[in-house]
Structures are given as structure tokens and as C-alpha cells.
């Protein structure tokens, strides 16, 4: 598994996670359109694709093929490693 910390260290990748949290199951096209129209991020499609690869390697994004389409889903379970290491306040 890739490095969760490195995956989270980039603002574009964090924006991708924000958008996937709002709606799971996005195509590359939808992710790109949201980054441009809602975040003013003008990353190329290729750059966004590479960001998604980093997020997938860290386990934060999962891809699924459905017929001829490819969708991206958010998976926050790798974030547990952070709170396991530095625990949240108990109250």
C-alpha cells in the first residue's frame, strides 16, 4: 500500500477526496469537471489521472469497472491508521 500521508499532502488530491465524499462513483471526466468548476484547479486530465493513481495506491480511492465505464469511489478506511497512531480525545 502507498503512503497515506503522502497521498494527503497534496491539495488537489484532498479536493478530489472532498468531491468523492459528496458523491461516490465518479468517472474521470466528472472528477476533472468538478475540480475545474468548483475548485478552480486547472490540472490536466492526465495529471488528475495520476493523482487518482496515488490515491488508489494509498487505498483512499477504489476503482470499479461497470460495463464500459470506470468509476472512482472514496474509501476512508486507511485514515484509521492516523487515529490509531495518534488517538482522538475520548470525550
Amino acid at each position: 500500500m502507498g503512503d497515506v500521508f503522502k497521498a494527503l499532502a497534496d491539495p488537489t488530491r484532498r479536493a478530489i477526496l472532498d468531491e468523492l465524499q459528496e458523491r461516490n462513483g465518479q468517472t474521470l471526466f466528472e472528477v476533472c469537471t468538478r475540480l475545474i468548476s468548483r475548485h478552480g484547479l486547472t490540472s490536466s486530465r492526465q495529471a488528475v489521472s495520476q493523482h487518482l493513481d496515488v490515491l488508489e495506491a494509498a487505498g483512499l480511492v477504489r476503482t470499479r469497472r461497470e460495463g464500459r465505464y470506470k468509476f472512482h469511489d472514496l474509501d476512508t478506511s486507511p485514515l484509521r491508521a492516523i487515529t490509531d497512531r495518534w488517538q482522538l480525545p475520548t470525550d
Binding site: 458523491r23 468517472t27 471526466f29 475545474i36 468548476s37 470506470k70
Partner: protein, 132 residues
Amino acid sequence: MRINLASIHVDDQQKALRFYTEVLGFRKKTDIPMGEHSWLTVVSPEEPEGVELVLEPSDHPAVRPYKEALVADGIPFTSFAVADVQAEFDRLTKLGVTFTQEPASMGLVTTAVLDDTCGNLIQLAAMNDAVA
């Protein structure tokens, strides 16, 4: 000089004609047999003398991999203007149309993306009302 045609490559012209007329609601404008295929166009009933969409056969070997690559990444081949994206989404979903992107507000526009069953994705778009 003016633009009077736009074209889209469809896997099956008759299937495409049914989808673009019976489901989307366009009207057949021209259907001229040309050997194996036809010169086949549709227009919007809102603009019967407007731009015609040519439903063009996709039998050239370069077309299929191109279309498949666009579809895999969710990229629409073209976009149609509608008054209300959510209303069209509701209407078309009831007719069995598959959407790869549900309606979403994207800054100035609201968009959704559907599968035309002939190898293409199509975006529906409406300008968002300006906030006074």
C-alpha cells in the same frame, strides 16, 4: 459560411434513430439510403430548421477504440442544451436510460452525462440561474 451539421458515430444507425427520436425526442430530418448505410440526420423539434445531427456509422476501424477510450473515462462526445437537467434526468431514467453522471452543479452550468446505447456518452447542460 455557416455550421449546419454536427455528426456522431453510432454503432447501429437504426438503433440510434430509435434512441435519438423515441427516447431523447429529436425528429428524423433526412434518411437517404447510401449503400450499406444511410445519410441519416435528426433535428430538435425546438429548432426544426436548426443544426442537424448526423448519425454516422462507426465502421471505420479507428472509431471504435476512440469511442471506447472516451466512454471508459466518462467523457461525453457532445453536449445538448436542455431547460432543466434534473427534469430530463428524471424523465430519461424512467425510460431506462443509463447515466454515468447524475445532475451536478458545475459553476455556471448544471450537467449530467448519459449513455446513448450506440457507443457514446452525451452531456446534458443547462445554464444555472444567475443569483440576483
